[in-house]
């Protein structure tokens, strides 16, 4: 992602050599994802996700709009991933035409929007004339590698956390109820795609990799910025908890062993499972803290289930 950052050749050599000996700079295992921190804001759909030192803020918002003419039953959903110099001096403001920026936004788009993670039909209010337009704004705050993985978690957390105002439809007229007036409704999230990025390093020279029989590429999960700068190839797989592959992206770079793809998916599934569980438990904790008086205010009888 970062092209303008130069890494000294001695540091580069040290990093590769330590990888060859099985060590990473942050003493993680090769297949270990960094700790994920999920923090919800005061408003619905405001979430900050930290993975190691990478920090991404995502804000979900919605407004009423007119649906596309050829899709009158569907609402609108946009994801915007614009970088700013805040994440690091290598990013230019408002310039998202860099190869890596485009790749990042394309993968998130594929993983979340095109995979149907959000039920857009549920956003329809009056067919053909009014629908919700949901917008996810991803803000990169601090860059230490893994923007794709972190953004995906942030967008999904945001969508799961977001509540849209309730509406009543009477014929042609619709009334939007403010958040204080009526309990807002959650969005229909159909599955939680999780992206896992693998970075490949070639321990031998380039010739060996193309011609040789050895398939001894070093494969890292969740690379840091320095590792990203030095990697020879990358693969992003997106899975959900139902063991479905949502998206696979390998855009050139170091060729990898075909069988390794399956292996990577297996590794990614384990991560997907733990992350999904973490997301659901964090959401539950947030919901409980917002609703701490629910038990007191509830008129429901205590039942033994």
């Amino acid at each position: 992602m970062a092209k303008d950052i130069d890494i000294s050749s001695s540091e580069a050599k040290f990093l590769i050599d330590s990888l060859k000996q099985g060590f990473r700079f942050d003493s993680r295992g090769f297949e270990e994802f960094r700790d994920v921190g999920i923090e919800f804001g005061k408003d619905f759909g405001d979430v900050t996700v930290t993975v190691g030192r990478t920090k991404v803020h995502c804000r979900i918002s919605c407004s009423i709009a007119q649906p596309y003419e050829d899709r009158p039953f569907e609402g609108l959903f946009y994801i915007s991933t614009e970088s700013s110099p805040m994440a690091g001096p290598q990013f230019e403001n408002g310039n998202n035409t860099g190869e890596d920026e485009v790749l990042c936004s394309r993968i998130i788009e594929k993983a979340v929007r095109r995979s149907g993670a959000l039920d857009v039909e549920g956003l329809c209010i009056v067919a053909g004339s009014k629908c919700w337009a949901v917008r996810a704004d991803v803000h990169f705050l601090n860059c230490d590698g893994g923007f794709i993985d972190v953004s995906c978690i942030a967008v999904m957390c945001g969508l799961l956390h977001f509540r849209k105002p309730d509406v009543t439809v009477a014929g042609e007229q619709i009334t939007v109820h403010s958040l204080d007036e009526r309990e807002p409704v959650p969005l229909g999230v159909l599955h939680i795609p999780i992206c896992v990025t693998f970075s490949f390093f070639n321990p031998e020279d380039a010739e060996e990799n193309i011609k040789g029989d050895l398939n001894n590429e070093i494969c890292l999960i969740d690379a840091t910025l320095k590792e990203e700068l030095l990697r020879d190839g990358t693969l992003t797989v997106t899975l959900n908890k139902n063991r479905e592959v949502v998206q696979v992206s390998k855009a050139g770079g170091l060729p990898m062993d075909a069988l390794m793809l399956m292996d990577c998916c297996h590794k990614a599934y384990k991560i997907t499972e733990t992350l999904t569980d973490q997301i659901t438990s964090e959401l539950k904790r947030d919901a409980d803290s917002r609703n701490q008086f629910a038990a007191m205010l509830s008129s429901e009888n205590a039942r033994v289930s």
Binding site: K42, H57, R59, S80, M86, P89, L141
Partner: protein, 223 residues
Amino acid sequence: MLSAQVGVLDQVDGSCKLQCGETSVICSVTGPVEPKARQELPSQLALEIVVRPCRGVPSTREKMLEDQIRGVVTPILARYMYPRQLAQICCQVLESGEPEEQYSGKELSACINAVFLALVDAGIGLLASVSCVCLAITGDNEQIQINPSQANLIKSTSTHVLALQLGAGAKKVENVLLLESYGAFDEESMLQVLHSGEMACMETALELRKVIEHKIREDFIWR
């Protein structure tokens, strides 16, 4: 009311996350760095200021915020110290705390305070300190609300943003860096706003100084 942490980001030279009531912004400063040829000023530090909204894409509203921040920051920076260099200031609004189509005062005041702290964190030379408050006049009895809540802002008849240049340990007002008022008001109420804004700016400045003090204590913990 106001809380801030500095040094929250590590890819930039200075950063600050600031909450003021319902509004929350994060600001980063990179500099002095080498500018692009078109930004370079032969004798002074050039500034690139970016404001990014909480939701949606940046529009003319953010452009105006950038211009207002530039107007406040330029006179307090020791720009002659860094000829042919650039400082990149980037503000990301995390929580707006006001209806964005109509107001921008709360975001502006939070951004200015955050930029000041981030500049200090980045160690760029300053000539004076600045603090900023947003004020609103509500009701028939012209009550002045300092850093109004969203509900009060919507009810208000006029909104004002006041940024003051402070010196002598934030105890002396040196100049009015920015006063921007919208709505319906008269001369007398504006002078009232200036008066209570001055008090509020002093208080804010003390809060900001506490943040800096805390930062320095943390930074020099090895002493």
